[in-house]
């Protein structure tokens, strides 16, 4: 399978990365090189093979449903580029 420039632009949109026409053209070539490389996986017979979900056999760990951390709103927003009274500030999203 290979991608064309309009697919690259669509994927960039999904990934929320702005791309120029030149970027998209360059990426099309690079992505096709990589997709060409991974194509060989189709040679492998995977009939009846389960997809891997965990490299080590493990049961999901459980813990008590209790609050063991918190009350640190100021810490959480401390690295944000724009905040107001411990809220993250973003451009308006509701018309």
């Amino acid at each position: 399978m290979s991608v064309d420039i309009s697919t690259v632009k669509r994927v960039a949109r999904l990934a929320r990365i702005a791309v120029s026409e030149d970027d998209a053209a360059r990426m099309t070539g690079e992505l096709n090189t990589i997709l060409g490389f991974v194509e060989q996986l189709n040679e492998v017979n995977v009939d009846g093979v389960e997809p891997m979900t965990s490299v080590t056999p493990m049961a999901m760990k459980k813990r008590q449903d209790v609050v063991d951390d918190g009350n640190k709103a100021a810490d959480i927003v401390a690295n944000s580029p724009v905040t107001e009274e411990n809220f993250f500030v973003v451009p308006k999203v509701v018309e």
């Binding site: 399978m1 991608v3 697919t7 690259v8 994927v11 960039a12 949109r13 999904l14 990934a15 929320r16 990365i17 702005a18 791309v19 990426m27 690079e30 992505l31 090189t33 990589i34 997709l35 490389f37 991974v38 194509e39 060989q40 996986l41 189709n42 492998v44 995977v46 093979v49 389960e50 997809p51 891997m52 979900t53 965990s54 490299v55 080590t56 493990m58 999901m60 760990k61 813990r63 640190k72 810490d75 959480i76 927003v77 401390a78 690295n79 944000s80 580029p81 724009v82 993250f88 973003v90 451009p91 308006k92 999203v93």
Partner: protein
């Protein structure tokens, strides 16, 4: 006084306890070495002299009071991927501009609890994506090694290039690193240092910037096998904040060192003999086999039939996980924000300007293979192939193999700004051809220096072990180290 930076961790530890010098003197020696060398090598992207000296002073107090920890007063460099409270933590990316976490990663917390001293943060490929340390926002690291009669700059490997270079150039006693596809073992091999990626789950991933969560593991890069064993003992722990960390007692890895290999079965996988592999690598491998045989191990030819599919499967699984993990960098919660006409425009501009080319490439591949209509063809197929790769290893371990010996890399260190690799991303990816299988199967792997090539550059061998059997790797790697000797880069910086 002798040069304190020449001492291994084991030597410095013993001499600190014997009061031959103080932790403050040891830390000062390293800070001076960094000051002299870092402009040339670019291994550190943030040096923390005040914190280092404070920590060293506290170590001296504990040494004086007889309450020294296992790493008391030992100065370490920390890969920029590890969250360090109040200190530069950016995964060497522009998108995390100015990020200083309000928490400390579990691995580094373990090291400080054992008395280690932090010298600063080490350069790396952006978000650990790369095999040459050239994708760092802070520029490439120079390998302390140069070919005979040449002053051309070589890469230290990646992504833990800063860690490997700092250890090789004696700008720290040891370093933390991480390995998703070979990022500890490949740079260790390129710099004549020892690097171990432990079994998935051996070290907590909490507080380490995530790249591909089912593959990422932390581990040390050190000057020799013993030092790597000492560091891993301290780094590893079960952690309630990482549910994939495993509740198995961390053995005293150092105590296995020097035990004879009698009775051990070492597998030699025929699939690791790849087309175009330099003869020197093949020779090194044969030499390694001979050393282990001399030491009493029995050598068994084995087959790992799905080896060639590990790298293509990795380049689906790792970018897919990365595209999800890196969705959090949106200009809202941390780091860079580039204003836009609306929120989506802000996201897109922030991510376009904050991520470098290699990171964008992987996010794009990951987004594509996970997108509607392609998930089964790519991602599901890759995860099935991954099951088969793991089964290859399970079969040979079940048949009685204790460890597997392979080359660590298909070549020695290459030049900075290599034209072939810049033109074709897959060429760069092929650096990890021998290491990536280990991540796909979640196994432990160690790279140990085994010789120099005809140009005088270090080459490494890799040992792959059973899950949670890092001990056999240290035991066997030590035999290689004893036979091969240690390799130090002639100082030019």
């Amino acid at each position: 006084m002798t040069d304190l930076t020449a001492l291994t961790i084991a030597e410095a530890r013993d001499q600190l306890k014997a009061k031959a010098f103080t932790a403050t003197e040891l830390t000062s020696a390293y800070l001076k070495a960094i000051e002299t060398a870092n402009e040339a090598l670019n291994a550190y992207i943030a040096v923390t002299p005040e914190k280092a000296l404070d920590m060293a002073k506290a170590s001296d107090a504990r040494l004086g009071a007889g309450s020294a920890g296992a790493l008391e007063g030992i100065p370490l460099g920390i890969k920029d991927l590890f969250g360090t409270e109040g200190i530069h933590t950016q995964a060497c990316s522009h998108i995390l501009d100015g990020f200083k976490p309000h928490y400390e990663s579990t691995v580094t917390s373990n090291l400080w609890a054992d008395g280690a001293v932090m010298l600063g943060k080490l350069n790396m490929d952006e978000f650990a994506m790369g095999s040459s340390n050239e994708s760092s926002y802070y520029g490439p690291v120079k390998n302390p090694w140069r070919a005979h009669g040449s002053n051309a700059d070589l890469v230290p490997g990646g992504s833990s290039g800063g860690s490997a270079a700092a250890v090789a150039a004696r700008l720290c006693a040891g370093a933390t690193a991480t390995d998703t596809g070979g990022s500890i073992r490949q740079p260790a091999a390129f710099t004549g240092t020892v690097g171990i990626k432990p079994t998935y789950g051996r070290c907590s991933r909490w507080g380490i910037v995530a790249f591909a969560s089912s593959l990422d593991q932390a581990g040390p890069i050190a000057r020799d096998v013993r030092d790597a064993a000492i560091l891993l003992k301290s780094m590893a722990s079960v952690d309630s904040k990482d549910t994939t960390s495993v509740d198995i007692v961390v053995p005293d890895y150092e105590s296995i060192i020097g035990k004879p290999l009698t009775g051990l079965k070492i597998g030699i996988p025929k699939e690791y003999r790849v087309d175009g592999m330099p003869e020197e690598i093949e020779k090194l491998w044969q030499q390694g086999i001979a050393w282990l045989k001399d030491a009493g191990a029995s050598i068994v030819d084995i087959s790992l039939p799905h080896t060639k599919y590990a790298l293509p499967a990795y380049y689906i699984v790792a970018p897919a996980e990365a595209s999800s993990n890196l969705a959090r960098y949106d200009g809202v919660r941390y780091g860079l924000r580039v204003p836009g006409k609306d929120i989506v425009d802000m996201y897109e501009k922030t991510r376009a300007s904050g991520f470098g080319d290699e990171v964008k490439r992987r996010i794009m591949i990951g987004t594509y293979v996970l997108s509607a209509g392609y998930y089964d063809a790519y991602y599901l197929q890759a995860q099935k192939v991954r099951t088969l790769i793991k089964k290859d290893f399970e079969d040979v371990f079940h048949a009685g193999i204790d460890a597997i010996l392979t080359p660590a890399t298909p070549s020695a260190a290459f030049g900075i700004a290599d034209q072939d690799m810049a033109a074709d991303p897959v060429k760069m990816y092929l650096n990890d051809i021998f290491t990536v299988t280990v991540n796909m199967a979640g196994l432990p792997g160690i790279a140990v220096p085994a010789g120099l090539d005809s140009r005088g550059l270090p080459l490494g061998l890799q040992l792959i072990g059973r899950p949670f059997d890092e001990e056999t790797l240290f035991q066997t790697a030590y035999v290689i180290e004893q036979a091969a000797g240690k390799f130090n880069a002639p100082k030019w910086w």
